[in-house]
Amino acid sequence: MTKKKNIGRTLCIILTFIFLYMPIGVLILFSFNSGDSTAVFQGISLRWYKELFTDAATLNALKNTLVLAILSSVISTIIGTAAAYGISKMRNKYVKSATMSATQIPMINPEIVTGISMMLLFVFVANIVRSSSLLGFWTVLIAHITFNLPYVILLVLPKFKEMDKSLPEAALDLGCTPFQSFFKVELPAIMPGIVAGFIMAFTLSIDDFVISYFTTGSGFETLPIRIYSMTKKRVTPDMYALSTLIFITILVLLLISNFASGKNKIELSKKAKNAVKFTGIGVFGTIATVTLIILCISAATEVKTVNVYNWGEYISDGGDDSLDVNKEFEKWAEEQYREKYDKKVKVQVNYTTYASNEDLYAKIANGAGGYDVIVPSDYMLEKMYSEGLLQPLDTEKIPNLIYLGDQFENMFVYEHTVKDENGAEMKENQTYGIAYTYGVVGIVYNSAELLENAPEILEYIEKEEAGWEVMFGIPKRDENGNFVYDENGKMILDMDDPDNKKFNEAYLKLKGQILQFNNPRDAFGSAMYYLGIDVNNPSEEDWRAVYGLLALQKDYVQGYVMDEIYNKMEKGESWIAAYYAGDCLSMMGENTDLDFYYPKDQNGDYTTNIFADAMCIPSTADESNLELAHWYINFMMEPEIAYANAEYIYYGCPYNYLPTDENGDSILDEETLEANKEAIDNYRINMGYYEYLFDKNGEILTDSDGSYILEYDENGNRIVDPEGDYFVIYNADFENSLLSMFEKFAYKDLTNSYVELSNGTKVSNLTMLNDKWETLKIESTSMVGIYIICLVIALGVVAFFVYTFIKKRRQRRFYWASTTPSKQPQKKQELPDFSETAVIAIEKAKKRDK
């Protein structure tokens, strides 16, 4: 072959590899980022590698992923090889083809269908055996084996077919037992297939997210699931660091194995084989011993596990020199057991994460129990309570309840039915949840980009009366003040009224730069706040209006996003977005051009969502774990712990460390007050921090690292630093305004709130919300161009097949006419058959030569 061709060939391979490795290069680059972002590179550091090794949950997820991949690929290789052997020996055509078809189903079935179908099965079985904790490691393992099996079988089966049938027969003739013949003769012949099957199974298992996601339950989290659950918060660069490490490890292993096998084979083979054997035995021996030791130790001490299911990135986890709250709890609880029961107990927090309220609900409502503490948001808590998925908390076991802010005290108190001694039913109020964090939705914008591209909008926002119109534009109304819709139910931007026209023209400059929530509650919520509709009790006309508004907005948004918002806002990819205030602050820390405001209505009052996430115990929680679960909740309210969390999450802290009685006197004794001093200060910062978000009256003092400095003047007032980023002046009124905001703006469960339609039927608002969201999401402009391209290619392929078919027939006719006049049924495709025969002939010749 010529040199030119070789260059073309190499270039082709190189380009493909560049394509395959480009994102990996990016990933490696950002793993060395010194900032928090995976989009803005701030400088080189090993920070995320350090953090990775302190992140116990991630390492645990990595361990789970590896254990799962190894187990599932080993088991499926064994079952699959046996199956391939059995299938290759099958004579009955129908049994064989039926088995083969069933085998292929997981391959040709979309992953999502496989995952869901298995989930339905497991949930069904769990309901029968009444086990609430069936979903978990074992179900995921079964699922992985199931989707690995077909690949193993289909890689091994051809090897059995290719194997010379006379080989095992010869072995038997020469005195082998069937057993020996299989292991000494057949197995080596099919080994390449088995190895390929194993590697394939391992790869698929390690990479699988969808099926694991649907089939897992409490306490079992693989790496992909963990990454996916970071969807509300950011995907942290330590995931990139982990990926880099995995990548390098495999690359090194690959090079070593290649180098080793590259040596002179004949000389080394025996030695190498022995070495491999001994290493194998050594490794297995070590694993077995370690397992045994661990088993012995764990048998000696009692292990108590509390299963906590929380939002992704929603607890101080020890990264960045923060407090590892779960570890602290383990230590504390072990101490408690020693003091209280004089027992040596090993306490473990099994901490797993989810991405949204809806994910959490889907898991709990499916009966995937085994969770002891969960943290739903307000409206989801209400829904779960009304469906009997939660149990009342034993407030006596939570002494730290005195710290709970007044406005949160009765927020999650619901009726609970108890039976008295006589069996009569009694209703009493019980606490079902204790607030964990709270927050507000606001609008974050890039002032630099707006200044350059849409200065009118920036000016408008800076007048401090801006509301949601910046996100939506101003829709057109007719002379009666009713909204005008087009034939698809979409609203139209108002271009008639001169003022509105001016604003809308500025708004149009934001086209393709706006980000909207990718969840129905918040997306529809934002439209409702804008139109002044009660988010919990909309009428049919209201639903029509909010849908029309969101459909209008759809033409101007860049995308519907959750966690991607961090990267997109931080690097200036998008200019404006609505998101949770704490997260907006976190973005502002990465990009100083970003700024933030709370949307106001025409009267200048705030109109936006406020939410609280609360700790609850599901009704399926293990009874023996209840005490530990209460301890956990109590521990989260400890001043030090709550502050560590608040600082990590950036959301509001719902605890008041200066609790007072009705007369305004402190109810804490001097000692506790003294002990809480730091927490009190921190608490004030946190409160003020939220206050800042409402009124930019001053700044919080920060030092160069961005930590807060506490300084007071002689009157005890905190010194305000005009240069700093934030301010704080604690204001008691703030709490009251919070409470009224909750009453007005917090989401409530919509399941049992109904809207009366004009045709007289009543529909649940939740159904309404979901239906409208579904319509909004699936509606999109037809991609005619793409359809045409597809059609052209498809027609081309069909034409090609028809052409070759006709050509072949012609050739054949010619062939028959000239040589064989007999009307024998002709075999199609002469060439492959011929070449296959040739291959076999050559193979045989080779063997003979040997």
Partner: protein
């Protein structure tokens, strides 16, 4: 070989058959059950019927087209690459094949995330183009979603084609060129028919995951155009409408089984091996 002996050998497949009935067939019955019942467990066609509305047909059409294009592009890239790889030394082949698979060992969510950083308007490609004063809007377009599919599933096209090609004896190729075939004819007349089984399994392994993906379209498409996978995921995870979700899954499954059956009809002539 005695018959008894053979039956005994067949028994090696039994564990797998039991497994298949329990964990492949049974779960699918559940999907079918949910697809044809309403919330109260009553038999109904309403779920399937409601998929006939224009918007859903569009979603199905869009998913099919995206997956189809992704498969075609994968094939166009993968075929020459696998051919070239198969023509290198066995040592090099081993390394190259492993290098093709290596990206799959890193999490696919993370890899898709990095693509966002590459494709965005402020991303890597555009900052390079920006030096020349060019600009190319890629993120949140159909092309970006298709690119994501091609990227994520390309190795699953290369590997089977390559493995089919390595089985071709080089002497067959030599023979055909000796017999007067030009290099192009060698590829079209000898290599292609002999590697067709690999192509078919490659197509399966790319088309199926592409048509049902939901993460790629969310991240690279900005959630602006839903694929069928997005709709199914939403039905199960946010709307809790298992019946509707199962109905969509059911239709998708039928769709794929039919298209695979048509394709396997072609491949049957070639020996019918999937992988």
């Amino acid at each position: 070989m005695t018959k008894k002996n053979n039956i005994l050998k067949q028994a090696a497949a039994y564990p797998h058959m039991v497994w298949a009935v329990l964990f492949i067939i049974a779960p699918l019955l559940f999907v079918a059950y949910y697809a044809f019942t309403d919330k109260n467990g009553k038999f109904t066609f309403a779920n399937i019927a409601s998929l006939a509305q224009a918007a859903y047909l569009e979603v199905f059409l869009r998913s099919i087209c995206f997956a189809f294009l992704a498969t075609v592009i994968c094939l166009i890239i993968a075929y020459p690459v696998s051919y070239f790889i198969s023509r290198t030394s066995p040592q090099a082949q081993k390394i190259l094949v492993m290098l093709v698979m290596l990206p799959q060992w890193l999490n696919f969510l993370i890899r898709t995330y990095s693509w966002m950083a590459i494709l965005e308007d402020t991303g890597i490609i555009n900052s390079i183009l920006g030096i020349f004063g060019w600009e190319l809007h890629m993120i949140n377009t159909p092309a970006a979603v298709i690119l994501g599919m091609v990227y994520n599933f390309l190795p699953y096209m290369i590997i089977p084609i390559h493995s089919a090609m390595t089985k071709i004896d080089p002497r067959v190729l030599e023979a055909s060129s000796d017999l007067g075939c030009n290099p192009l004819r060698v590829v079209t007349k000898v290599v292609f028919p002999l590697s067709l089984s690999g192509v078919i399994s490659g197509i399966t392994m790319v088309f199926v995951p592409s048509i049902s993906t939901f993460y790629i379209s969310q991240k690279l498409g900005g959630g602006n155009f839903d694929l069928i996978g997005d709709s199914i995921e939403r039905q199960f995870q946010t709307q809790y409408n298992y019946n509707m979700g199962a109905a969509m899954s059911f239709v998708l499954m039928i769709l794929i089984i039919v298209s695979m059956a048509i394709m396997n009809k072609y491949s049957d002539d070639e020996g019918g091996v999937i992988v």
